[in-house]
Subunit: 356 residues, 2 copies
């Protein structure tokens, strides 16, 4: 036979071979199965061994620096204790923050996470999702669900435990902010400041975030008797160039809108840049509202009014929900509360007051 056993087992710890249950068993003078039980993660199993024996074993495990081999455990149990996470891109601070929340909650529950970028591209989503499944992750957190393709449906058909985060999809368990309410908050803020002619930079049509934020905003204006014309709602990429391009168009409208709601902060920064380039002043000539309240928003030369969404918390809740589902509990969707942070981009340099 091979003399593999003589070599170090893991590539990473090539120094000394890792401690196994068998070694602990030998030293404790018990069978390896008893050691396994004493160190089990499952309380019921752990209770099956005498308190005295358990203490001895756990002491020994600690002393020898035992670390359960995930490969052995996964092979036997069929559970890898890893969660897969798909995001459009990690360089987007919103998704990065959500991911940090996911990872923190997963760690706390004894899971590791493996994250992959999909660039919001359906083919890439497909590829990356299958790569994660090939790694035998126990479940998926999807941060890039699109309403215009059926990856999620396909995964659901395969009974793969999954939770959506940030974006929603009908009939799926998701953890998001209440985007409709968020859009409404933005609208009410602008209405309160006296704005009557407003425009929306609406994001991509396949993302529920942009769609619902837009809808909430439009609803509020409609209810106030000031419906926003379709020509004033324009799609865009979720980044600075996207917001800039949309705004170049909006500033051409006559009469010009006095306020713009962009469905995320990066688009809003693009809006501000375009306004500035047009020789206008943000907060005076044109009010701008963003969404998410990324840390940068408050640090901008003209601080950006934005709808704050609890991104980190969203990630935590999503991961916790998935872990619960893996433990057999039913998953249910959650919509977290957003809150408006008013700043100079709508208030100008002067205290708030109606703008005629």
């Amino acid at each position: 036979m091979d003399r593999q056993g003589a070599r170090a087992k893991t590539g990473a710890q090539s120094g000394r071979a890792p401690v196994t249950l068998a070694q602990i068993a030998r030293q404790a003078g018990v069978h390896v199965s008893t050691v396994s039980r004493a160190l089990s993660l499952d309380d019921d199993v752990r209770d099956g061994v005498a308190a005295e024996t358990a203490t001895l074993i756990r002491g020994l495990a600690e002393e020898l620096g035992y670390q359960r081999d995930p490969a052995g455990a996964a092979l036997r149990t069929g559970r890898s204790r890893m969660l897969g996470v798909l995001v459009p891109r990690l360089t987007d601070i919103v998704l990065a923050t959500i991911y940090e929340g996911i990872d923190a909650a997963a760690s706390a529950a004894g899971y590791h996470t493996v994250v992959a970028n999909t660039g919001d591209d359906p083919e890439m989503q497909q590829r990356r999702a299958h790569a994660l499944l090939a790694r035998r992750v126990d479940g998926l957190v999807l941060g890039d669900a699109r309403s215009d393709c059926d990856l999620v449906a396909e995964l659901a058909r395969q009974q793969i435990p999954l939770v959506l985060v940030s974006r929603r999809l009908p009939g799926r368990v998701s953890v998001t902010t209440d985007d409709t309410l968020g859009g409404r908050l933005a609208a009410e803020h602008l209405l309160g400041l006296g704005h009557r002619r407003v425009a929306v930079v609406a994001g991509e049509p396949y993302a529920s975030t942009g769609v619902e934020r837009t809808q909430g905003f439009l609803d509020a204006f409609a209810e106030a008797g000031l419906p926003v014309p379709k020509s004033h709602v324009i799609g865009s990429a979720f980044d600075v160039p996207g917001g800039r391009a949309a705004t170049d168009h909006l500033l051409g409208l006559r009469p010009r809108p006095t306020a713009v709601f962009a469905v995320n902060d990066f688009a809003a920064i693009g809006v501000m840049a375009a306004v500035r380039d047009a020789g206008l002043t943000v907060g005076q000539d044109v009010a701008v509202v963003g969404y998410n309240d990324v840390p940068l928003a408050a640090a901008l030369p003209v601080p950006l009014t934005s709808v704050r969404s609890p991104m980190y918390r969203m990630g935590e809740v999503a991961a916790t929900t998935l872990v619960n589902m893996l433990n057999g509990k039913p998953g249910r969707s959650r919509r977290l509360r957003p809150a408006l942070m008013a700043r100079a981009s709508t208030l100008g340099d002067t205290p708030p007051g109606p703008v005629p």
Copy 2:
């Protein structure tokens, strides 16, 4: 015995049990070892099976949708084909970009990556590194090496294959930009514009990035016969508040510096904010240079002059280096070339020219 085998094997694919080598072997009428060889990643092993048999087996594997079970393979070989990555924080776009490069190169080489945030905190680094090792990663990419603690030395002592990225440490394999050169480029740019009284926002002392960028900058000014006084070099956190705080101090100096070099872009944004708050104009009264050239730099109201570093590429090279090391090749350090991107924050609104 338990009837575990009857249940689905993986949590994620609870629908249908995954295909195994044994199933393919049965259908192909060969032994499972032959199937293993035919599907091996190792060319030498794969050549050991007849071309005809191999074709049959690979066809069957494709048809049945076979995916190697990483747990089984890892258990046998002791290699998990996973790389651990430690970063200060993924919400920092610089590290997020580097990580994207790492992950892309790792994927291409058949590895998955598991990333963890350490918040640049030594205790957290320790915890997270050990959690990754408990997952039996084959090696580590460290993006948060500190010169003031000995985690890296400890890991090296345990013979754990590792590559540093972004930050260097003497005697370790690392992939960075040539930060000394980068600092020099910033200095030469300012010298060329005629600046004589300059200051440096130097970052944290434990990070080689800040230290070397500062050193390169100071060297160039010293060589030009214009040594920068120690009082004009001030430490800072690597973020917006850090840059702001440092600048509040620098602007109090008399005579006031005409230019500030911040060792990263976020600190530079803080510098710009502080300059603005002091009633001065960036690019006119005070020139500002950043480092990394994050996408936002060019999109700022006053576009930021910055030393561009190939962040994504740095990640790719780091991952490739680590994979090579795992394959027995010796690792060697690389320093990638930075390049200065001149913009309005140093040039003002007018074309460049000497500033008296």
